[in-house]
Symmetry: C2
Subunit: 107 residues, 2 copies
DNA sequence: GGCGTAGTACTACGTCCCGTAGAGGGAGGG
DNA sequence: CCCTCCCTCTACGGGACGTAGTACTACGCC
């Protein structure tokens, strides 16, 4: 669903339908989906003549980060979960995390 | 659902029903839920006489960490999402992460 | 030894979300 | 004036989930 969408950064309208013509969906289907995503706050829409122009409300990365935080909220012991997580990521990704944290510290 | 369950570490059977008597659910309801959680791999069950004894398949923390990794898998750019995440956690939690990563490095 | 009780498996029903789509309305162009 | 485009509203099938009932089995007591 959002997969299709969240990838392309530029804003668009029902051109989305053109972009995913391979799945040949009814035009209304695409509209319904965009509409529902908007209702859920994943997309933002702006009028453009009689059509709408949709835009992601947040970057994909921000959305993912939010999902991760949401998962984290489900536990009582956030530290334990975080530690677990740190242990679970691969070496290179641990490196990325470390770097991000370091930069954070420097600000 | 798992909320009730995943909190208590010790293993149990239909005593779960006793433990959540406040929600006064039919005994069968509790059983069905435990059964479904087992099917989905969240719980492990062992025979104990004619009854079953349920036990979490993974610790809550491990489960949360897994959820976070799952979210991370949804992006194309894992590094970007990780960086975002690192920036999003609160200061104290960033500290926890840093510590976990450092210990990881030392091993 | 039969009968109540505890525990299990199987099935069901309402609800909600999601992917898909159709039917109907307003607005611009030929 | 009609056609086309795009929008809104409503719908339907499927799957998950929370809740629960029914049917079967095995203990154990009297």
């Amino acid at each position: 669903m959002d997969v299709l969408w969240a990838e392309r950064s530029p804003l668009t309208a029902r051109e989305v339908g053109r972009l995913i013509a391979d799945r040949d969906l009814a035009p209304t289907t695409v509209m319904t989906v965009l509409d529902r995503l908007t209702r859920k706050g994943f997309l933002t829409r702006v009028r453009d003549g009689r059509a709408w122009r949709y835009e992601p409300a947040a970057s994909r990365d921000a959305y993912i980060a939010e999902l991760m935080l949401e998962a984290l909220d489900m536990t009582g012991d956030r530290s334990a979960a975080l530690t677990r997580f740190a242990q679970a990521v691969s070496g290179t990704e641990a490196e990325v995390l470390r770097k991000a944290l370091t930069e954070l510290e420097e600000e």
